[in-house]
Symmetry: C2
Subunit: 323 residues, 2 copies
DNA sequence: CTGTTAGCGCCTTCAG
DNA sequence: CTGAAGGCGCTAACAG
């Protein structure tokens, strides 16, 4: 491996000068610069990043902590995070927490020891207490302490939008179906937006919610739907629940969307070339990823950032609402 | 940050001794070891990984180069690669090549400069020429030069299996439908296995193949199926094609699986908790990931490895074959 | 067994 | 403007 020393030797200058040329830092005369550049080219010098990182005590890499990459929402998110970050010269280290708080803590300790520059995390645990050292952190869909920036889709607005789309399509009796996690998260706002909009428009509605961990959720939903067989418009907390609802409805002999219209939330796509089938409120995953990455870089570079980044959602028409 | 020096000072020993204790390397007397351990505990010493990496000229990290993480096959693979590797103390750096050879080369250069320990790559470009420095490399589904180890599922056996399952279910007239990539890859063997097995059992069959890049592939498949309306068993090169075939068949008024049975290949699952709907030959993604990771570690540690790792596939019964 | 020493490759003062 | 020198924190070789 060719080092800075060899370049200096060949160019007949000191190593400091080579460093200055390479990093374009400090004043160097035209002549010496040319000499050094020539030597660099001839020797095909590439700086040893690991030495530089050591010296600078940073690593030009950020960690992405997510429950599992094996899920279309997270993998789309990860895809765009990596795209943005690699363009900006950062490496991204993948960390699957499997929703295990201990694993998250282990990762964080490891990352600190490795002088990682920052973290983007999607988690439902209170990891912020372990991220001291004011290690830059951007959180997704989860509000920690005041000084941690977070990025989220407009869950409240999504709920409003779902209500509007359902009402626009002449639904008379609405329902929200979802679950409630033990930790506070952004999906509560979906319901809130939905509820407030429906109230505003004075449409009848039901709320069906169960606490996690879920047990026989499908059974419960089924009996709920049986009991209220006049419901003709449903907003599901997410696409997964929407799909479950759809299959329950078909089991109950209801036609979707003729008898009942259903709107989900998330709009996950298996891959960039696959289609969204059900009507849904799609999260702006790409934008979320982009903003999270850029915000993190800003924090790393010590430039101030908007601490609460809320991105607009969109209604995507699928086969479960009437056109 | 507390350094090895401070620990040495506190324990009243030399820094070499602290290093020996921490790494459990070299002989240290019981007494001094205790002293050092006490100091470590008291100071809450954590070694600076980045300094260690610098000294060792390695990084305890490997790179995963895939076309895109936003695809269930790759994301499942990545999930298991990361699980295995993180258990073994390696970090994994995510690299989305987007199928762009130039991007792959850029990543590789960056990785070399960063003294990455090894690479696991899924690519259809000839990147091996850029991976000099005998940088450890494991390739998936793609055979490079002799000295690069690769991991694949038993594509040939999968083809045989598909044929057997179709014949077992009384199909009389079979077909293989697929595409041919410009670069040689493992999926050719799916067809080969299928064809040889069908021949062996003397069943009638057709092969429908088009060269990539595909144009109006669905139209072509449709007219092929129209022309041979007596085909009652189809093996598709992958699940995506299988799904396309299924929708074409339904358009043609054929019932799947009553009139025509269809088997795909891959068995991708969107996430760990989702279901496989169509009948398919499932790749052992988890095993592939595990073996790729372990093989890479072996190469890194200079222990010899089986250069060709072929893992068995399984038939998964979905709704597109008759039970 | 253990303390000291010599770097790893680079960046950054600090004199000149 | 530029060369020399001092570390960053750690490991490994060496001399006791």
């Amino acid at each position: 491996m060719v080092t800075i020393k060899e370049v200096a030797l060949r160019a007949g200058v000191g190593i400091g000068t080579v460093s200055r040329v390479f990093n374009n830092k400090g004043a160097v005369s035209k002549v010496t610069r040319a000499k050094v550049e020539k030597a660099i080219k001839e020797l095909n010098y590439e700086p040893n990043e690991i030495a530089r990182n050591f010296k600078m005590q940073q690593s030009q890499s950020i960690a992405l902590i997510i429950p599992t990459i094996w899920h279309p929402f997270y993998s789309e998110f990860a895809f765009y995070v990596e795209s943005t970050l690699s363009e900006q010269g950062f490496k991204v280290i993948l960390c699957n927490s499997k929703n295990d708080p201990q694993k998250e803590i282990n990762y964080i300790n490891m990352l600190i020891k490795n002088k990682i520059d920052g973290i983007i995390a999607i988690t439902y645990n209170d990891i912020d207490q372990y991220v001291f050292n004011n290690l830059p952190l951007v959180s997704i869909d989860r509000h920690f302490t005041e000084d941690i920036v977070y990025v989220t889709s407009d869950n409240y607005g999504g709920g409003v939008l779902a209500a509007q789309e359902l009402i626009k399509r002449n639904c008379q009796k609405l329902a929200y179906i979802g679950s409630v996690s033990t930790v506070k998260n952004e999906s509560l706002n979906r319901r809130k937006g939905f509820e407030e909009e429906v109230n505003k428009q004075s449409v009848e509605y039901f709320i069906f919610e169960e606490n996690e961990p879920l047990k026989d959720f499908d059974k419960a939903v089924e009996s709920f739907l049986k009991k209220h067989s006049d419901i003709d418009g449903i907003f599901a907390m997410n696409d997964k629940i929407a799909k479950m609802i759809i299959s329950i409805l078909s089991k109950l002999g209801k036609n979707v969307p003729l008898d009942v219209q259903v709107i989900g939330y998330d709009g996950v796509k298996m891959s960039s070339d696959s289609e969204i089938m059900i009507s849904t409120i799609r999260q702006p995953v790409k934008d979320m990823a982009y903003h999270a990455a850029m915000a993190l870089i800003s924090i790393i570079r010590n430039v101030s950032v908007e601490p609460r980044i809320v991105l607009p959602v969109k209604f995507i028409e699928g086969y479960t609402t009437q056109k």
